[in-house]
Amino acid sequence: MDEKRSALFTIIIIASVIVVFTAADLIQGDRLFSETENRVLASKPRFTLDALLWEDYTQKYETYLTDQFVSRDKWITIKTYMDLALQEKEINGVYLGSDGYLIERHLPSDYSGVQVNKKIALLEKLVRDWDATVMLVPTADNILTDKLPGYAPYFDEKRFLDQVAQHVGKHYVDVYSILQEHAQEEIYYRTDHHWTSLGAACGYSAWAEHTGHEAQDYGAENMELVAEDFLGTLHSKVNLNMAGDRIYYFPKTLEQPLKVTYDLAEETQTDTCYAPLHLDTKNKYGFFLDDNHALVEIETEYRNGEVLFVIKDSYANCFVPLLIPHYEKIYVLDPRHFRGRLYEFMENCKPRKGMDVLVLYNCIHFLEDFAYVE
C-alpha cells in the first residue's frame, strides 16, 4: 500500500510538470519578437501535404514550438546559471572576465597565417595608393588580459600588429601601446565589444601625435554622460543579469556648426554626428554616427581645406567625431555596406590638393572584413 502511494505521488509530481507546462504553452499566445535575443521568433508554419512530405514541415513546426515555448527567456536564464554553477568561464564565445567584464573570445586557431598575410597585402596596397594612415585597434581580450579567466586563450594581436607595422612602416599608428598604458581605465565597455569614448580618446592622442596635429583635450573630465543602462552585444550573447554600461561623449565635438549627411541622402541631413534616438533602443552604441551607414559625410565650418577619408568599421563611430576640429570635410566609409568601386569613389572625393586617408579597424574586424579593391 505504502509503495503504491509513494508511486502515485511520484507520478503526480512528474506528470504535473509536463501537464502544467503543456497547458500553459497552449494557452499562451505567440510573440513576434524576442527582446532578449533581438530577433523575430519563428511563426507557425502552414500545413499542407506537400509541406509535410517534402518541405521539412515538421522541422519548421519544432522550431516554432521551441521559439514560442512558454517562458522561453526564463528557461534560458536557468540554463545560463546552471553553466555558471558548473564553473564555466565562457558562454557563447564570450569570456566571463573579472570586474564584471564580458570579453569577446577570438581564438588563435580562427585566424590563419594565410588570412593575415592576405589582409596585410591589401592594406599595403591601399597605403601605397593613398599614403594612408593605419590605425588597428586591439580588442579587449588583448588589453584586459588581467581580467580574462585563467589561461583563456586569445589571438595574439600584438604579434599581428608588429607584422603590420613592419609592412606599412611610418604609416602605422601605435594604438596598442597607449591602450596598454591605460588598461586600468574604462576604455572598453563591460557588456559590449566596442571601445568606449575614453578608449577612443586614447586612440586619438596616438593619432594626433603621429600625424602632428595639435591634440584637443579629450580627457575624462570633458565627457558628458548620455546613457547608463547600455547592455551591449556581449550581454545579449550571455544573457546574464548585470548592470548597464555608461555611454559618454565629448560635447566639444559639437562646438562648431556641422552638416552631416548619411548615404548621400540630402533630405536626412542633420547638424550633429550623434543620434540620441538610439539611446531609447537596445542598440545604444548606435548613438555614435547613427549606427552603421555605408557613407557619412561631415562638413564643418573650419575653412582650412583639409579633407579626410576614413575607411573603417564600427570602432570608428565613436572615434571619428573627435577629429572634427581638424578638418573641413570628413568622409566615413564602411566597406561592408558600400556597393561600388572604392578606388574610383575616393578619386571623386579627392580635392585637387589631395586628402588624408585613415584606415581604422579593430584587429579582428580588419581580419574578417577589411576590403580594398581598385
Partner: protein, 470 residues
Amino acid sequence: MVFSSVVFLFRFFPLFFLLYYLVPERMKNLVLFLGSLIFYAWGEPVYVVLMLFSTVVDYVHGRLLERLRGKRAARLVLLSSVIINLGLLCFFKYADFLIQSVNGVLGTSFPLFELGLPIGISFYTFQTMSYTIDVYRGQTKVQKNLLDFGVYVAMFPQLIAGPIVKYRDVEERLHNRRITLVDVSQGLQRFCVGLAKKVLLANNIGELWAFVSKMRFQEMSMLTAWLGIVAFSFQIYFDFSGYSDMAIGLGRMLGFVFPENFNYPYISASVTEFWRRWHISLGSWFREYVYFPLGGSRRGRPRQLLNILIVWMLTGIWHGAGWNFLLWGLWFAFALTLEKLFLGKLLSWLPKGIGIVYTLLVAVAGWVLFALETPAGILGYIRALTGMTGSVMDRQGIYLGRQYLVLFLIGVIASTPLSQRIAKYLKNSRTGFQMALYRFGEKFIPVAMLLLSVAGIVDASYNPFLYFRF
C-alpha cells in the same frame, strides 16, 4: 521525433499517454500502433511506408514458416525473409558507400543514389529478423494478429535507437499486460534520468568535442587532444545509454519490460567484459544470430577466432557505412582475440585497476577511429594524442581542462554505479533520516532533472541575432 524535444515532451507525451491510459485494454495496442506511426512519420513522413512494408513482409513470412514447419520449403522462406531485410538495409545504408568505394578503387564514376538513411532502419530490421529466425527455429510462436506484430515492430520507445528487443522478450506482453502504478512511476523516473544524461551530460560535454574536433590537429597539444577524445567517450556513452534509459522507461510506462542495454561499461576490467556491458542488446543479437550459428567456440580455437573476426567486422559496419567503422570493429576483434589467447588470463591475475585502465585505453583509442571518419583525420589526431605535434600542454589545453573539470567529474561519477549504491544503501537502511532522504531524493531528483533538461532543450535554440554586431 526525438525524446529530447519540446514537441515530444509537451505535445506527444501528454496526449499519447492520456489516450493510452484512458482507452480499454483491448484498444491499447491500436492506440500504441497509431501513436508510434505518428511518432515515426514526424521524422520520416515518407519512409514510414518502408517500415510498414518491412512489418508486413515479416508478418507474412512468419505465417508461411508456421504453415511449412518441418518442410524443406521453410528454409527457402527464411532465406527470403533474411534477403529482403538485409537487402533493404544494404540498399539504404551501404549502396552509396559501396559505389563510392568501387569508384575510388577503379576510378569509375557510377552515380550515387543519395537517398537519406531511413531513421532506425538498422534497429527495426534486426528486430524483425530475430522474429522470423526464432519462428523458423521454433523458439517462438507465430504471431497471427497483424496489429500485435505491428506494435512489436513500430513501438515508439525503442524504434529509433534501440535497445534491440527480441520478439520473444515481449511476446507475452503484446497481448497480455497489466500496468501498475509502480511501473508507471519507475518508468517516469527512468525516463527523466535518461533525458538528463542526454541533455545535461552528453550535450554539454559534447560541446568540448565539437570544439576540439574543429581545431587544426597539426598544432594541437597532447592535453587538448586527450581532453577532446575523453569528452567524446563521455558524450557517446551518455547520449546512447541516456536514450536507452528513456526507451526502457517509456516501455515500462506502456507495460513492457525491455532488456537492459548498458551496464556501466567504463568500469570493465577487460574488453570482453566491456562488450558485455556496452550496447548489450546488439552484442547478444550478434552472438545469437551470427556467432553461435557459425559454431561459436565449439569448433576449435582457429574457427573461434575466425568467428570473432566475422562478428566484429559486421558489428563495426553495422554502426555506419564507412571504412573507419570497419576498422573500429577490427580493432575490437584484435583486442578480443588477444584476450582469448593469453591476455584475458594475464589480466585476471593482475589488479583490477590495471584491467580497467587497459580497457579504457582500448575503448578510447577505438573512439578515435569511430569519431574521425577520414584517414587523415585519424592519423592527425593520433599524432596529437601521442605528443608528436611537439606540444604537450598549452594555454588552450589548460583552459579547456579547467573549463570542463566539473563536468568531467560528474561524468566520471555518473559512469560508475556509485549513485545506485548510495540509493540502495539509503533505501535499505533503518534510520528514519536516511529513509526520508531516500524518499525525498527519489521523488524530487527526477523532477529537477526534467526541469533542467527542459532548460537545456530550450536553450539549445537560443540564438541572439546581433544585427548591430559592428
